[in-house]
């Protein structure tokens, strides 16, 4: 009997001790992340037939198991990967948002507004050198803001790429750890026991990995797990596959498993967010910024290029953009002007060029038709050189150089000028600035023959290009030859002495824009801004150095602000390059997009975090350590230990009693 009893007592003592050890282990790990509470499985010992009776042999401490819910654990991993992505995205977009600084003073939108404000101020007194300087300063502020934003975005992109590299090495360290733990678990569990603590630490490693990249887990019978991302193996049994980051041909940062040429594209985890930031989000913002800068450069230059500086027409001009010899035959002349490597498009239209005699102030206006599909560089330069007072050459490096003969100057202001025919012996002069909406050709036809200023009832009809009569002028008796008659739309006409017949016709081309082909902006002639993106957006140095070259005037008079009004129109215009929005609204849209990206990331993060917290609560409810519960267990097993000890003492004293009998 005593043999059984002693054994039974010792088993009970040992079981209570092991249970207390487990409680202690649980209590000690109450705050260990990823720790799953362990339970000692107790069972009653086998019964023995003793004297025809079945007698229990006490308690058996079977094994220690950890309490876990694999499904919840997996879901937590998925959730952590999602959160990792959203957290990283939110903070990365937050960096962009902070850099943009909208809405606020000194932000891009206020700099753009500031420039237009200065232009508007200047329009009250276009000749004022102080206001000119101020406008150029505002322009410089605007371009600087563009440049600093672009630099900032590029830096964020570089930082994000560096973080990708950093996280890649973290992923590699973690997958190595998983592989190592796999080996240890397989070795420990070879006897069928459960290596709970090793599993816990492997789970925790996988959890950390999930923050970086989403993994799917397959557990094998030997206790090891395989990890894969989007079908690409990261860990297989005891072997870890390293990943690396590389730059693709298109400049994107890509991941791949070393030795594989398939790119690895994580769907969640902070790596996914960083890759998105590097490859999509930041490039998209930079592209928008570039589009805005390029559109502003182009639109402003279109307005400015046909203006006249306050110190009068140009003596010489150099283009800012070089032509390129795209067929490589050593000559620029055979290239189509519209495909000669210029940064801005050229369309069908005409360039108005006026040559002013500085001595007399006489102006001769010429018009060069440009067909985007036909006009070559040679045609264009030839047409310019056909103007007697102009010398135009394409320099060896592809830059265009325009020069007026001594005593002459040239400009590209919109001017109305005679195109064909004559009215008999009478010379017709057109003056004034055409204020109509679209350019037209006006033709003059006398109704009858007669002498200007002498023949009674001598009428001249004026027709527009549609053939509609826009005016009938009485230039007969009573008209003083040479005096101006109103043609409407700001134009005036005067007829000189002479005889006319009703067979005479005389045509005048009116102009609203001096360069409907946009060839000046494309070449960078008489430009205000230069650059083709945010990074190189700046005020042309030539204008900054000499504010008189700010071509505010549309007529050549230094108090005229015609070009300024064209510039101001940009601030309201629905610009094709900006999806049909004016510049400031475009910035608003940009800021809203960034704001949306962040707020939606944060909103989603909130939702995912709530889900995660719920899952963690579920996991904790099952696997977490409740200190009170452990304390109760501790008391229980303490008492069990005490009871077992008491039992042994009783058995011992019974034995002593028996021995005394002997």
């Amino acid at each position: 009997m005593s043999g059984v009893a002693f054994n039974l007592g010792i088993e009970a003592l040992l079981a209570a001790q092991t249970a207390l050890d487990t409680v202690g282990h649980n209590l000690a790990n109450a705050n260990t992340p990823g720790y799953s509470r362990q339970n000692l499985l107790l069972s009653a010992g086998p019964t023995q037939r003793l004297g025809g009776r079945l007698v229990g042999t006490g308690v058996r401490a079977d094994r220690v198991v950890s309490v876990r819910d694999l499904l919840v654990d997996r879901r937590i991993l998925t959730q952590r990967a999602l959160m990792g992505r959203l957290e990283t995205r939110s903070s990365a977009v937050g960096d962009v948002e902070a850099l943009l600084g909208e809405p606020g003073n000194g932000s891009l939108s206020s700099r753009i507004s500031g420039f237009f404000e200065a232009v508007s101020r200047l329009s009250a007194n276009p000749g004022d050198p102080v206001l000119r300087q101020d406008t150029l300063r505002a322009g410089t502020d605007m371009t600087e803001r563009f440049r600093s934003l672009e630099t900032g975005f590029q830096k964020l992109r570089k930082d994000a790429a560096a973080r990708v590299a950093d996280q890649v090495s973290k992923v590699n360290a973690l997958t190595n750890d998983v592989a190592t733990l796999n080996r240890a678990i397989a070795a420990a569990e070879i006897d069928g026991s459960q290596a709970s603590d090793l599993r816990d630490s492997r789970d925790e490693t996988i959890r950390k990995l999930s923050d970086l990249v989403d993994v799917s887990i397959v557990e094998r019978p030997d206790g090891t797990v395989s990890l894969s991302t989007r079908g690409q193996m990261l860990v297989s049994g005891t072997r870890a596959f390293q990943i690396e980051s590389a730059t693709s041909g298109s400049g994107e940062t890509i991941l791949r498993v070393r030795g594989s040429d398939q790119p690895l594209r994580p769907a969640s985890g902070s790596l996914a967010a960083l890759l998105e930031q590097v490859n999509q989000f930041l490039p998209a913002q930079i592209q928008k910024l570039d589009a805005l800068a390029k559109t502003l450069v182009h639109e402003a230059n279109k307005a400015h290029s046909t203006g006249v500086p306050s110190n009068g027409p140009f003596r010489s001009l150099e283009s800012l953009h070089a032509l390129s010899d795209s067929d490589g035959d050593g000559s620029y002349n055979d290239e189509l002007l519209s495909r000669a490597g210029l940064p801005f498009p050229i369309q069908d239209g005409a360039l108005t060029i006026s040559v002013t005699d500085r001595e007399t102030g006489g102006v001769q206006t010429y018009r060069i038709e440009i067909d985007a599909e036909e006009t070559t560089v040679g045609d264009f330069v030839g047409a310019l050189n056909a103007i007697p007072e102009m010398t135009v050459v394409v320099e060896g490096d592809g830059f265009l150089s325009l020069r007026a003969a001594a005593g002459y100057g040239f400009d590209f202001a919109p001017r109305s000028f005679p195109t064909s025919g004559s009215l008999g012996g009478s010379s017709v002069q057109i003056s004034g600035r055409f204020a109509g909406d679209s350019a037209t050709s006006l033709s003059f036809r006398p109704r009858s023959a007669g002498d200007i200023g002498a023949t009674g009832g001598l009428l001249v009809d004026v027709f527009d290009s549609n053939g509609d009569r826009v005016a009938t002028l009485d230039v007969g008796e009573g008209y003083v030859p040479g005096s101006e008659l109103d043609l409407g739309n700001g134009l005036k006409v005067s007829f000189g002495l002479g005889a006319v017949t009703n067979a005479d016709t005389f045509a005048v081309q009116t102009a609203v824009d001096g360069d409907t082909a946009d060839v000046l902006a494309a070449l960078g002639l008489n430009s205000l801004f230069q650059g083709t993106g945010a990074a190189d957006f700046s005020v042309v140095a030539r204008v900054l150095d000499d504010p008189r070259l700010f071509a505010a005037s549309a007529t050549g008079a230094n108090g005229d602000g015609g070009a300024l009004q064209e510039l101001l129109a940009i601030s309201e215009a629905e610009l094709a390059g900006l999806a049909g929005t004016p510049p400031v609204q475009f910035v608003g849209g940009l800021a809203a997009d960034i704001g949306f990206a962040r707020s939606s990331a944060e909103l989603a993060l909130g939702t995912e975090k709530a889900l995660h917290d719920g899952l963690v609560a579920q996991r904790d409810a099952r696997s977490g350590v409740n200190v009170d519960e452990e304390l109760v267990d501790m008391l229980r097993f303490q008492q069990a230990y005490q009871a077992a000890a008491q039992f042994l003492q009783v058995v011992n004293s019974l034995n002593d009693e028996l021995l005394r009998l002997l």
Partner: protein
């Protein structure tokens, strides 16, 4: 399954609750401190975009208002300059009328002319008014003096007739200048007129040109011999008569006259004054005669002056006294004059005016010249010529007044626009505030609430964390 709480979960819960409450406090504090609901686009992307748009709108309105207020002084200065100009022109009109009074003698008129001269100088100053370095009446040529007083007091306009305007709203263009060409040199073409002192008249064929062109009529020689022993002094080289003119010697009265001019006493024989006796006819043309050899008889003879004529800087050509459309070309201005030279009577300088193209200053110059009367005209002649000149003066006076009206109307438009814009600005500011700003009461309430819930979470958490079974073990 009933939830089995664990201590780690409780700690985590308390921690995350505290974090959340603290974030709320920070956010509420931020809103209350800045008064702004949107501090970054992610706070409310739609609102932020609207705020940027509204700020753009605000900046546009501010820009228009600022442009209006920057432009206003130019118009005010123009208005006051025009006001003083019109007053000066009024004075000139009054003085001119005064000068036509028969009670005035030549000296009085010369005095008036001097007065007009100084008023004209003030008028030129008014027309050259500048504000902030910008000449107000030069059209869009604002950097150079628009009215340039050249040699001989002629005032030339160097500006243009450009109207400078500013944009004060979408498509709202307000002019902020009145070109001097329309105020001081307003045109109203009607026809050519020639001052006609020399007898050159408007020809039968049309002329073409601009402003005024001087016509110089030069005396080349006098032919014919006066009777009664009288001879031409200086060989007839200093005379100014053109065409035939009678010299009538009246022995009975002892006088001599030229044409219908005043009779003057013949000096006594041997008087040295007789070596150069100046005779003047009714047109003011003169001949110099040597009457020392006067024989005491009466006689009527005819002297004929021949001469040449030119326009502006052209070459002199001999006068064809039979031409009714004698062509003169001024190469410098390009004007072509066709004049009637059949009645040319004396050498002098005439002015051909393309009427209605005469500017204020030229009109005043003409009045001054007439008042000075260097040509020795009679009062009647002066009055006759002045009528035309006064008509031009009145026309120019009206142009100045209408210019003033235009400047005033533009200033009013600026003011009205500014008022409209200031209302709009308030509306936009209100809308921006609605989008961007927090209601400060709400913000403070939210802050207090956030603080209270933080405190609540803290104290609840503290209590929860304190309780442990350990407290009751022994």
């Amino acid at each position: 399954m009933p939830l089995r709480p664990t201590h780690a979960a409780i700690y985590g819960l308390v921690q995350s609750n505290l974090e959340r409450r603290l974030a709320e406090v920070i956010r509420a504090q931020e809103q209350a401190a800045t008064g702004k609901r949107i501090l970054r686009p992610s706070d409310d992307p739609v609102g932020a975009s609207a705020a940027i748009d509204l700020r753009g709108e605000q900046s546009r309105i501010a820009r228009w208002r600022e442009t209006a207020s920057v432009s206003r002084p130019y118009l005010d200065a123009a208005n006051s300059a025009l006001d003083s100009a019109q007053e000066l022109v009024g004075q000139i009109r009054a003085l001119t009328v005064q000068g036509l009074s028969a009670t005035m003698n030549d000296e009085d008129r010369r005095g008036l002319a001097a007065q007009l001269e100084s008023i004209k100088a003030s008028l030129v100053d008014a027309a050259n008014s500048s504000f902030d370095g910008k000449y107000l009446f030069g059209g869009t040529v604002s950097g150079t003096k628009p009215f340039h007083a050249g040699s001989g007091g002629r005032v030339a306009y160097r500006g243009n007739d450009g109207v400078q305007s500013v944009l004060l709203g979408l498509g709202v263009e307000v002019p902020i200048n009145v070109p001097g060409s329309e105020v001081f040199a307003a045109r109203d073409p009607r026809g050519l007129s020639i001052s006609g002192l020399s007898g050159v008249r408007v020809g039968s064929a049309p002329s073409g040109g601009d402003g005024w062109v001087s016509i110089d009529v030069r005396h080349d020689a006098t032919s014919g011999a006066p009777g009664s022993g009288i001879t031409l002094a200086y060989g007839g080289s200093r005379d100014s008569i053109l065409g035939p003119r009678a010299v009538v010697v009246d022995a009975e009265a002892g006088t001599i006259r030229l044409g219908n001019g005043p009779s003057i006493k013949l000096p006594a024989a041997g008087d040295p004054a007789g070596a150069d006796l100046l005779l003047r006819d009714e047109h003011g043309a003169v001949v110099h005669l040597d009457v020392r050899g006067y024989d005491g008889t009466s006689s009527t003879t005819t002297l004929t002056g021949t001469g040449s004529i030119r326009a502006g800087s052209g070459d002199y050509v001999p006068i064809d006294t039979g031409a009714t459309a004698f062509e003169l070309v001024d190469p410098s201005s390009g004007a072509v004059l066709r004049v009637d030279t059949t009645n040319v009577v004396r050498s002098t300088q005439d002015v051909a005016r393309f009427a209605g193209t005469i500017d204020l200053f030229t009109a005043i110059d003409g009045i001054i010249a007439d008042l000075r009367n260097d040509q020795g005209l009679s009062l009647d002649e002066i009055q006759e010529r002045m009528d035309a000149r006064i008509a031009e003066l009145v026309r120019n006076h009206e142009a100045v007044l209408s210019g003033m009206g235009r400047a005033g109307a533009a200033a009013q438009r600026l003011e009205a626009t500014d008022e409209r814009l200031s209302n709009q600005e308030l509306t936009v500011a209100g809308r921006l505030s609605a989008v961007e700003d927090v209601d400060i009461t709400d913000a403070i309430l939210a802050l207090t609430r956030a603080q209270q819930s933080l405190e609540l979470a803290q104290s609840a958490g503290a209590r929860l964390l304190q309780t442990s079974f350990l407290d009751y073990l022994r």
